[in-house]
């Protein structure tokens, strides 16, 4: 048995080292400060579709700890404390996510730009990728336009019943009663994603029902959309960004909605991170932030078919 050996060759190991180095120098040249935040905390995300890995009580007598699914909450507390532009290059953990494009532990690059909007941040993401993949093709589309092009349907205005019908057609009967966000996700993943162009494709103005932690606004055609974007590299989802929600009250009500959704889905409850809400209430500067999966980026740089080929030890080897 050769199970002790890494999944990557030495070339891939060196490539990873080089890319980590280049990512750091990209931000150093732009005066973005690297921050090193905890991966272990007493709370975690409430998002119904993201499950945290719980630990034993961290010190005696406490409740469980959680490995963080992203550095977002700690970084926002730093931003509220006046850190200015920051980035974090570290590990994140998600329960139950394992497959050719998922690993329960992964390397995440997340950065925030104060006073920037999503289009400025998408442009910077494009520059970052162009530095790593010379002459990479970059395209930019609104979420609505992609749906209209590939499914002849306006995702923001279509009736839920027509979305469910399409989801049943492309997915299965299990989607016949599904909510708007889940139907849209299925259609995007199964129908649109495989037809995206080679290179970097930036998709912005996500539906309001998928806002997560992004601000919402009314687009030029007066449709309620979120200021959230995603980036796809050769049809693989690479990054997710927001114009960050700064309103503590709105954030609290979204957290409450998350907790209801968790209850309905039969998922274990998750306490709201009161420190994050307090930070928002004390004043989070207007900013945009984006998180990028470094392992998936390496997959695309190397043309690998699975994460296992670019991670020294993916979960199957741990």
């Amino acid at each position: 048995m050769n199970d002790w050996q890494p999944g990557t060759g030495l070339d891939s190991l060196r490539q990873r080292g080089r890319v980590l180095c280049e990512l750091r120098s990209f931000f150093q040249q732009r005066n973005v400060l690297e921050v090193d935040v905890p991966v272990l905390a007493t709370t975690s995300v409430t998002d119904c579709n993201i499950d945290s890995i719980a630990t034993l009580p961290v010190t005696s007598g406490e409740s469980a700890g959680y490995l963080q699914t992203s550095p977002e909450y700690f970084m926002k507390r730093l931003l509220a404390a006046g850190s200015g532009d920051i980035y974090c290059l570290g590990k994140a953990f998600r329960h139950g996510e394992a497959g050719s494009r998922h690993n329960p532990e992964f390397t995440l690059l997340e950065w925030y730009r104060c006073g920037w909007d999503e289009h400025q941040l998408m442009a910077e993401l494009g520059e970052l990728i162009s530095g790593l993949i010379p002459r990479v093709r970059i395209e930019k589309h609104s979420y609505a336009n992609l749906f209209i092009e590939h499914l002849e349907l306006d995702p923001h205005q279509a009736e839920l019943s027509s979305l469910q019908q399409l989801a049943v057609k492309y997915g299965s009967d299990a989607w016949s009663n599904e909510n708007r966000a889940n139907c849209l996700d299925l259609l995007f993943s199964l129908v649109i994603e495989p037809q995206l162009a080679d290179g970097l494709v930036l998709v912005y103005d996500y539906p309001a029902c998928q806002a997560a932690l992004a601000k919402c606004y009314s687009d030029p055609r007066d449709r309620r959309v979120s200021r959230r974007f995603e980036a796809f590299l050769n049809r693989v989802e690479l990054a997710n960004g927001y114009v960050e929600l700064t309103d503590g009250q709105e954030q609290a009500s979204r957290f409450n909605a998350d907790q209801q959704a968790r209850k309905v889905a039969g998922k274990p409850p998750m306490d709201v991170d009161q420190n994050l809400l307090a930070a928002l209430n004390s004043g989070l500067p207007e900013c945009s932030g984006v998180a990028l999966g470094v392992d998936r980026l390496l997959m695309q740089i190397e043309g690998a078919a699975s994460l296992d080929q670019v991670m020294p030890f993916s979960w199957s080897r741990c």
Partner: protein, 190 residues
């Protein structure tokens, strides 16, 4: 029967789908950005041998199919059924023409093969990967033409027709790959 959840789907697992037994070929975990996870699963319907692709919500489950691959010896054909025997227990099973399917053209009496049982009855028959069979009908052999590499059809003792090199004659025993139906060479011993 037990149920299997999407995170237990592995290649080779036998499950029931829309009333038919299926074998899982591939299971890909998909999770969009902030969305709900689902699984893209490729399965082979064991009755029709057709490959289909299905999407499941992560956590959905399917009932296990009572499907078992068993080594058996082919005994005889009584006109309606093909009879197979489990060598350990001498238990005999009658397979329909539908179940024997394409395996029919490769099976000689006494051959060992894999019979897939579904709820205890033969569902399909997989012949050995290689069989050695005699040519019963072909155009006369052309001696001295071995280097040219031409081929001609030859009918074998079981009824299968395969392409063979020109130099072979009726009565010659050849080795055939049943997965591709291709001639592999002259049998070394029989």
């Amino acid at each position: 029967m037990a149920n299997f959840s999407t995170n237990e789907f592995r290649p080779g697992l036998k499950v029931m789908l829309d009333g038919d037994p299926c074998s899982i070929l591939e299971n890909d975990y998909v999770k969009p950005g902030k969305g709900q996870a689902f699984n893209r699963v490729k399965l082979r319907n064991l009755k029709t041998a057709r490959v289909l692709e299905k999407t499941f919500k992560s956590g959905e489950s399917l009932e296990a199919a009572d499907v078992m691959d068993t080594d058996m010896q082919y005994l005889y054909n009584d006109g309606d059924f093909w009879c197979f025997m489990e060598p350990d227990t001498f238990e005999q099973h009658q397979a329909t023409e539908n179940a024997v399917g394409d395996a029919l053209q490769w099976l000689s009496e006494q051959d060992m093969c894999v019979v897939t049982l579904y709820n205890g009855a033969p569902l399909s028959v997989t012949p050995p990967n290689h069989v050695e069979l005699a040519i019963v009908e072909t155009d006369p052999g052309l001696r001295g033409d071995t280097a040219q590499g031409g081929s001609k059809p030859a009918k074998l003792s079981t009824g299968a027709v395969v392409k063979v090199p020109l130099f072979l004659d009726e009565g010659d025993v050849i080795r055939v790959d049943t997965r591709t139906g291709e001639y592999q060479g002259r049998a070394t011993s029989k």
